[in-house]
Symmetry: C2
Subunit: 762 residues, 2 copies
């Protein structure tokens, strides 16, 4: 068991790390050369156009104004300054709602921590339950004296824990309900004030049945003209653009290589870059790099426009799905919420997501495929979740000092060094876990994609839900049970289902120190690392050196990133779970969690304002998931407390705890009925109000024109931008002509000295 000293060392390490990150960030962010990494949001909004400020050459890259170094932490109050409504305009509702999850954590846990430290900590401390065990085999630390373990069996003091459990439940439910209400209202207001968007008029229709006599386009047209005669406006077919996507991707790669070669050549004008055609570019015939890639890009561009033409004119590539638009929001709301035909697996309608939110690859999946894919993913997820436990259990049992000493007795003298021991005990278990978890989100995202969701937002929600479940089983239960596995697993397997809460409940107080280190590593240092954006920083500078030639390239080289709902939210939920479970058992955990929530709130608010660029706007559609998971955590905490108390012979107070999960489930059902519809359906009244307003304001609106190509496949749109670019490039060549003009197809017209050398050379 870790002692207070171990915790102290771990805390010191993590605090130092976190401060190092924050300091590095404070220095990096005021360097103009990093401006695009730390303030990309402003560039995207067009509020900053270039990092090149007044001053000499040096100040282009490095900040020489030393006064700004003194105020290095002033980003924190700045991050908090922007009021919420402005933040909604600036970054969208999704980001604001996401930030409110951290606030929710503060709101829930701050009063709980106050109550716990004024009532339970004294009650726990003034006992000698653990002192009596000092002579037995069970080891414990001073921290455990603050926990419920310190109270002797059958003590009437457990009534206090019962009361606090009730208080926590009521407080949490109260805050949750208020928050759900607020966010539902925010969402409805956001939707009501939102400007005209294609998705307000559009419904995604899937599983259009095939008909030997009619093409899919005709079918869709006829079906909606007949069944929604007064409201149907137009539709947009969905093309199978797999080949086009591949071509576009290849062209992009070729373009990058071309850019790299041109840059290389421009640094040393005498030396024309040469590439080898053989295996991995290491063998074979040598050719002129710039020429080769230029012709490749040209060829691909030709192929792309041919493929586009083929898709546009042909009907073979049309998949049995379509975006059907209506004359009014009312008509779309009706179509999205009703069943169209007898067969509930055909003509499935649902609200279309925003065009940029659509995940086109899955639109064509037929109904049966979806079911089979769901089954396959379910089984795969089961195995992933349960077989992932084995390595974690192994590493964690190693990270236990006694375990290491037993496994590798020759390491004993090394381990017994005081500092090293502390590091191993305080640091390793958390790190081991964290590394394992780094690989996971991508796998889960791929699973969701395979499962067939049709919008990025739903993909992320699904992946988040799977990630949470995974963390619950492997991090939370896994750490609690396998950590003491060698003592308990045997008895655990032979116990009944009813005894599982007991077994887990008993282990919970023993694992408090482990979770404290976990919170410090994952929460404190992790969040501080997030603000440093080390990975985007490095990638940006690499790209900047090798690929960037224009401001536009530089813009593309910046990856502002997104909040990352599928990884971030489950992480927060783990803290909710830990907080609620340990609030009654070992309240010493709560301050650590509060620090996490506070720091993360400030950091993410800063990032949302200055960095992240959300890929889509779902208007906070994920909140029901957040709410459900916090409620689940609450119920788990109640069950585990029940299990723990029942082993403490507190038989008088334990039955009263049974009421709590029932109350909480009732609360959840109530909230679900009352607030969830705001996140799922679009009420007809709202639709009608917006329609009427619009009709009054813009009686001559050409909606058909507005909706045209709104839902075209992104590759079509990318291509168009690209083609436009090629025309527009010349017009923009006033700023840095040497760089801009060489860009892509139009570089031939530039006045570079070596121009002729690579356009006319053989």
């Amino acid at each position: 068991m870790a002692t207070i000293n171990d915790i102290g060392v771990a805390a010191a390490i993590n605090i130092v790390t976190a401060f190092a990150f924050l300091l590095a960030f404070a220095i990096f962010r005021i360097q103009p050369v990093n401006d695009r990494v730390y303030f990309p949001k402003w560039y995207l909004k067009g509020l900053r156009s270039s990092s090149i400020q007044t001053g000499g050459f040096g100040s282009k890259f490095i900040n020489l104004d030393f006064r700004s170094y003194i105020r290095f932490l002033n980003w924190m109050p700045e991050a908090l300054k922007m009021p919420e409504p402005e933040l909604v305009d600036h970054a969208g509702l999704d980001s604001v709602v996401y930030l409110r999850i951290y606030l929710l954590g503060l709101k829930i846990f701050f009063p709980i921590a106050c109550v716990a430290f004024t009532t339970m900590v004294p009650v726990n401390w003034t006992n000698k339950g653990l002192d009596r065990l000092r002579h037995s085999n069970i080891s414990f630390s001073d921290i455990d004296k603050l926990s419920l373990s310190n109270i002797p069996n059958g003590s009437p003091r457990f009534w206090m824990h019962l009361c606090v459990a009730y208080a926590i439940t009521f407080w949490t439910c109260f805050i949750l309900k208020r928050e759900y209400q607020n966010i539902a209202l925010m969402r409805l207001q956001f939707l009501a004030n939102d400007q005209r968007r294609p998705n307000q008029f559009t419904v995604l229709v899937r599983n259009i049945p095939t008909d030997p006599h009619e093409s899919i386009c005709e079918l869709v047209e006829h079906f909606f003209k007949v069944n929604h005669p007064d409201h149907y406006l137009t539709f947009q077919a969905v093309h199978d653009a797999t080949k086009l996507s591949e071509l576009v991707l290849t062209r992009k790669q070729m373009q990058n290589l071309l850019d790299y070669n041109i840059n290389k050549h421009m640094r040393n004008l005498n030396n024309r870059p040469v590439i080898k055609m053989g295996f991995l570019g290491c063998f074979g015939e040598e050719v002129d790099g710039i020429k080769f890639y230029t012709s490749a890009v040209e060829g691909l561009t030709r192929e792309i426009s041919e493929e586009k033409q083929r898709l546009r004119t042909g009907t073979k590539s049309i998949v049995p799905a379509a975006f059907v638009s209506f004359k009014s929001r009312w008509g779309a709301a009706v179509c999205a919420q009703t069943q169209q035909t007898r067969n509930p697996t055909e003509w499935l309608t649902e609200w279309a997501a925003e065009p940029r939110d659509i995940y086109y690859d899955n639109l064509a999946l037929p109904y049966v495929d979806l079911k089979i894919r769901r089954l396959i993913v379910g089984v795969a997820y089961f195995f992933l979740t349960f077989f992932f436990m084995i390595p974690i259990a192994f590493v964690q049992s190693l990270a236990n000092i006694e375990g290491i000493e037993k496994a590798f007795p020759f390491l004993k003298p090394l381990i017994e060094v005081k500092l090293l021991k502390s590091i191993i005990q305080g640091f390793l278990p958390g790190i081991a876990l964290k590394i394992f978890l780094l690989f996971l989100p991508r796998i889960l995202m791929q699973m969701s994609k395979f499962e067939g969701f049709v919008s990025t937002s739903s993909l992320e929600r699904r992946a988040a839900s799977r990630f949470y479940m995974f963390q619950f089983i492997n991090v939370f239960l896994g750490s609690i049970v396998t950590g003491t596995a060698f003592q308990q697993l045997n008895s655990f397997l032979n116990q009944s289902a009813n005894d599982i809460p007991k077994t887990i409940g008993v282990s919970i107080p023993m694992k408090a120190t482990f979770f404290i280190t976990y919170i410090m590593v994952d929460g404190w240092a992790g969040v501080a690392g997030e603000i440093l954006r080390l990975k985007p920083l490095i990638i940006y500078h690499l790209k900047n050196s090798f690929l960037v030639r224009t401001e536009k390239d530089r813009e593309e080289a910046t990856d502002p990133g997104t909040i990352g709902f599928n990884t971030g939210e489950p992480q927060i939920q783990l803290y909710f779970l830990l907080g609620l479970v340990y609030a009654t058992v070992s309240p010493i955990l709560l301050p650590f969690i509060l620090v996490f929530f506070g720091l993360a709130y400030v950091v993410y608010r800063h990032q949302v304002i200055n960095v992240y660029n959300q890929k889509y706007e779902s208007a906070g559609k994920f909140w029901p998931d957040v709410h459900r998971r916090v409620v689940t955590a609450l119920i788990v905490s109640q069950l585990l407390l029940m299990g723990l108390l029942s082993t403490k012979h507190a038989s008088k107070s334990t039955p009263l705890l049974l009421v709590l999960p029932l109350l909480t489930i009732g609360f959840h059902i109530h909230c679900k009925c009352r607030y969830q519809p705001a996140f799922v359906t679009y009420p007809l009244q709202e639709a009608m109000i917006k329609d009427t307003l619009e009709r009054t304001r813009e009686p001559n609106l050409n909606l058909k024109e507005f909706l045209r190509d709104a839902y075209a496949h992104p590759e079509f749109r990318v291509g168009e931008n690209y083609d436009q670019e090629m025309g527009l490039e010349k017009a923009r060549s006033d700023k840095s002509p040497d760089l801009v003009a060489t860009k892509r197809g139009s570089w031939r017209n530039t006045s570079l000295p070596s121009k002729h050398s690579y356009t006319n050379s053989p």
Copy 2:
């Protein structure tokens, strides 16, 4: 344990009882005097007008044609003659779908029984597993030799049971799926061919919010005119008619008493009936009965029309619910399937049920009340289900011979009489259970009413679902576990949740004989008793003697009854459960179940054709419930077989059984997605087709007129009929003038000799 002899005696008793019932029915039904009891459906359809046939006075009441007695069983083939489509026209889809549940039983169990008797019975019989136990304490009967208990532990013969379990699962799922498909199709065709009905155009709106500036009527009108401008037609307010209902009920009672007194007077014209005004009509002042009741009826009629006037003109009695009608089925389908406003607890819309199906008392309940009521009923149901077990357990332990002998040793010589012993063992446990269950449906129906459902059909479905759950816990589990409670309860309480299937599984083979007697008493004799209709027969003849004076009165005295979904369906489901559970364990049960399904099918088909008068038509909306319960029974049977086999040390085959519940759940989810929507939603395409057809056929239809008062409170309508009656009575007085003319308010105009004596006497 009951032996084969006991079963034989029980079977004999029950077969004799069933035959006695059938014989009595055969004789009663051909007596003209009972014609209205056994053929009320034909009277209601207007195809038989009077039971009085040609012949003398005697043949009015008794069938003197002795040839008809010879053909006394010919109702059976007749019941099967009517083809299904005709039956749908004759009795509605609900009845036909209900009959198909029995057919489903035959389809599932006949092949299973064949397979079981050709494979498992020989396999079980040719073992000596039980013979080895003959010297131990466990008692068993010869019937057990046919069951799985007879196979010694760890025998490879259990592979046979595994295969049969797989075969049963696949066969049952196959039949279930085909049936679901058929019935979904039948429902859709029925709805498509259905004539114009008010409910096709009408949506029930509940929880209309109150507004200080507008009345509810104005609110509804404005809301739907704004939000469904092209489709809204009209609406019908709902009145709180509690007082009116009471008045109408009182008038009916008074009218009955008046009729009784007039009849009494007419039998003996010299003796005017006299009633006492005091307590219970036994003390106090004497007054002339006819005069008193006449004035009472008159007074009440006046009060009723005043109350009606008050309801019609005033707005205070209007509750926040309304029936909103649309110009087209499309408009109604849209409104029923969409959310109207931001607040999902206001302006709740759903398809209106048929006018005669509406349960008006619950329309006014606000949202919060509904939730609270649901909670209260849930708790009450829990206690009802779990505390009802105590008396059953007591009675059943008594019904065990050894139990009785132990409790009342002085009864020993009496009980040991062979025949009596057989009766007690074979008959009592079933009867005891049956009596308990007689009281239940009413309680459950009241619970559903309190819970706030708004249509009779949904009330019945809910009550059925509760009744099934009750039977599952108390009859099925209760009988299995408490029957052997004294041996097993103790060990049971100390076992884990995982071991429950084992414990129950082990008891199952031992209870086969109990369930055989239960099937005979409840199934065979019960069904035969149903066709006899003893209760309606007696009530009809009582009413006929005391209250009936006109043909119309006689019509009202007949109670054709209904199928009684809330009691009948759970009963059938119990047989499905027993059949599936015992199919692999003790196949000897299957023939008994098959006989039940066959007999019940014939009997209920006869009743549906000749007797029952359904109160509403839900177009088979209950089928998803039926399907779900059979699937549940299948899963239970698989779990219990798994539990049983795992105690038999058949460790090689048991894990393979784990696949079955998963497959079955998957099957259920598939069926739910694929077929359930047909029972819940109304596709827009269907609505549009019907609308278009109607518009072509009847371009000048005045829909508003058609819908006017369709959803008026039934008391309004009853009253109108009554008022009309009073006017129409004279016109109908050609048939039996002496009876008709004295009816109700108009009796004063008759030519009865004593007329002046009770209109003019003081």
